[in-house]
Subunit: 477 residues, 2 copies
């Protein structure tokens, strides 16, 4: 007999039909009403037990968290909150859940508490909603790129290069942990390691993606990347998923067009496909914000924030213009910024990015043409000799969500930059090759997927939008 | 002005229109005919240069590998091999490619040679075709699961558990490589490591996926996994991508149905969406096989192999039946198997798997109910007490392509297995929790994505179906 999904029962016309459903008990009240969930939707289905004809022993085992199967009839519900319910004809307990031991009680748990129970937390409405939205967003990413002629490239996670320069790296090794083999000069003998050289976990697939763009034309990566930085913040993870498109023959303007179009597509996809989950998350956010002082509350609801992105053109502003605006801004003059802006060349902080988006322009902002000194070696130098063709996209609430650039396509200029930054050019022989053989203008960007999920779900801690977060001192599960 | 993709020029009706195209020169002959490719398709477009009105210097720079842009008119071609061509009005060199230095010459290179040039090898027809098919298969994987109500789960790459038991692992660390901190007893003090404990690269996301299946119902992973095994074969990588669906309330029969339906969907997707690339790869395989002795040639062409999977029901055979068949088979009696089959309990080798598929049943085969002793601790024990609800799917040419099982859902039985196998149960506290709170029948499988790409493209070395392969002594690029 076919097992029905709760999601289908709630929307399909199955009234008076025989129903077979399996799931987990969320609540059981009055010895009669089971709220059953099977993970297919944020909503539970109400199952009404004929308690007079159900053995006492079975009734006792209908506890929060228990797995059960039910055969019954779908009928109109006279109760509040649901149109239909199941009149239970047969109920079997598949797996018990001891009510005194089960950690996920039918009450409000703090997000911190649930983080310690990451293997069970998707049994709550909040985390099941977040993870369904995350899954939908992932698919939207693939669908967008595939529909637009991009090829998915799985760039390597283990890298022999430390030239990516985006941050501290994790070493990957099979050498003896206690007594690594040493050379005569006291250095580690990496020739004896698995790959015959020192290897690390990648911080970005960009350089390899560039190689593929320079042959397949349009490519994207979507995979895990790593930072061994001791940042215990609500915005940083040691392991996170990154999306990195890379396109041959595309300049920075094209890059901005692509990024804006892409983000709007995936946010629109979530709105179109996750309405129930987003409605729930919107209410959750409103409740959460009530506990905060007025000044810290968001001016927009979740839906308003999503439409803020969809309905506005992203304002394109050069770094130089932005510095002018910030320098002359009220908070700067009144010394309200933690990092005052006094001169061109300053690196922008989250407070500045949010000021530009939320107060000044009141729309998503793309900053471009940054000072070369604060950006990576591979970004294309402008003719002014001091700025590079970089862009960052700034969003309300979270600040930078995308970082990208047109890449330096000129062999000589790139080589000079590599040397000036003290990078071993021998390590980048293959990257330099791309400029030696059929080089061309090309561009791309990186988007930290968890930042996108954070933005779309209205969650505030990045640990709550990835299944099993990896942070300093924490690799549980 | 809009840049046209070569792929579109070849199929859309753009005759006599003005064309703007950018790409790389594959060949240039008779000072006149450029074969141009932009990565969008296996096919080149012929661009006809008016050499009398083109500067000598420009003509010289039209070399294999050079990036160029062309404006011209799309006209019917009178030449062989193409319907349309571009009459060049304007040609600009974007990036030169020195003909004496460029490694990818317009001739046949060995796959081994191209492996050393992994950053350039997708500039060949073979590798661009393989990687486009790989990308399409990836998307088919996501599309299949999303359409069928599965949620994508990103299980962690860095794991604090070594209980997965699927093979040797890579250590992930930020400890001093030369002088790791030691405890008084001489052991490494992992409390000082980044995560405060010893961590490794995951060999499988299954255990974490199970946690998600037991709340979201139907989930799948698709991410990188790792084996630190010193296997230098054409079938093994140290880093590869794995697909692992996991479904609550599904038994082994449902698992077999799912795997068969899934594989057929993705293979069908490739046939429907990558016809040109597969046609090329089929011809390539035929050419390659001509260089082999008759006995080693495949009996099927690539298309025939793909249809062998699509058009046959996968034959379901118990391990016990399979052993009987193998024991009484001609090659076993004539001692042609390298590993003779003499008794129940033997682990099957590739030669046995291929015999069953290619000679005996002549269709894909699903073996199930394996001896518990040769399978993992988490597989569900049958009532006979000696077999487990495991299944392997066997394909022609490559042998095992899927391994899966119904999982042991009974707390006591699982705990006993964990102990018997000497696994620290404290490490698996959360995995055991899943059996303590609302346990239920559930199942899943793992499919090594590169094996699927190998099968679908007809390539024979797994290093040739992943962009930048990681193998012992090799982590270049």
């Amino acid at each position: 007999m076919k097992v029905h999904r709760v999601k289908d029962l709630l929307v399909e016309d199955l009234l008076l039909q025989e129903i077979y459903v399996k799931g987990w008990v969320r609540t059981f009240r009055s010895n009669r009403f089971i709220a059953l969930n099977d993970g297919s939707t944020i909503h539970n289905i109400q199952c009404v037990v004929d308690f007079e004809n159900t053995p006492e022993d079975t009734l006792k085992r209908i506890t929060t968290g228990a797995a059960i199967q039910i055969k019954g009839t779908l009928v109109e519900s006279s109760g509040k909150g649901q149109k239909v319910e199941i009149q239970v004809n047969q109920l079997d307990i598949l797996g018990d859940s001891h009510p005194d031991e089960y950690p996920i009680q039918p009450k409000k748990h703090s997000l911190e508490f649930l983080r310690e129970k990451a293997h069970l937390r998707t049994r709550t409405s909040t985390f099941s909603a977040v993870m369904r939205v995350r899954s939908a967003l992932s698919f939207a990413v693939h669908q967008y790129f595939q529909r637009n002629g991009f090829n998915y490239v799985n760039t390597p996670v283990i890298t022999g290069s430390d030239a990516e320069g985006a941050g501290e790296m994790f070493r990957v090794t099979t050498l003896d942990a206690k007594k690594p083999p040493l050379l005569e000069n006291g250095e580690v003998d990496y020739k004896e390691d698995f790959f015959g050289k020192e290897t690390n976990l990648t911080v970005s697939g960009q350089l390899e993606a560039e190689a593929y763009a320079m042959s397949l034309g349009k490519v994207y990566t979507f995979g895990p990347t790593f930072r061994a930085e001791n940042s215990n913040t609500s915005r940083h993870l040691a392991e996170f998923w990154m999306i990195e498109p890379e396109v041959a023959f595309m300049d920075l303007d094209g890059n901005m067009d692509l990024a804006e179009d892409f983000i709007k597509y995936v946010v629109r996809y979530a709105l179109d496909n996750c309405q129930d989950d987003l409605d729930f998350l919107e209410k959750r956010l409103i409740d959460e914000e009530k506990t905060k002082p007025q000044s810290e509350r968001s001016e927009m609801t979740l839906t308003e924030k999503l439409h803020f992105v969809l309905d506005n053109n992203f304002k394109r502003v050069s770094y130089t213009e932005a510095i002018d605006i910030l320098k002359n801004s009220k908070p700067n003059k009144k010394k309200k910024f933690q990092y005052p802006i006094d001169a061109w060349g300053a690196d922008l902080q989250s407070e500045h990015e949010r000021f530009l988006v939320e107060k000044h322009f009141k729309c998503p902002v793309i900053l471009f043409d940054y000072p070369a000194k604060i950006k990576a070696f591979y970004m294309r130098l402008n003719d002014d000799g001091k700025t590079v063709r970089a862009m960052d996209i700034l969003f309300p609430g979270i600040g930078e969500i995308v970082g990208g650039s047109q890449r330096e396509e000129r062999y000589d200029v790139l080589l000079e930059k590599v040397k000036a930054m003290g990078i071993d050019e021998k390590e980048l022989w293959w990257y330099l090759d791309l400029r030696k053989y059929g080089t061309a203008v090309h561009s791309g960007f990186g988007l930290g997927f968890e930042r996108l999920v954070l933005f779309t779900t209205g969650m505030t801690n990045i640990r709550d939008v990835i299944p099993f977060p990896r942070t300093p001192q924490n690799a549980e599960f």
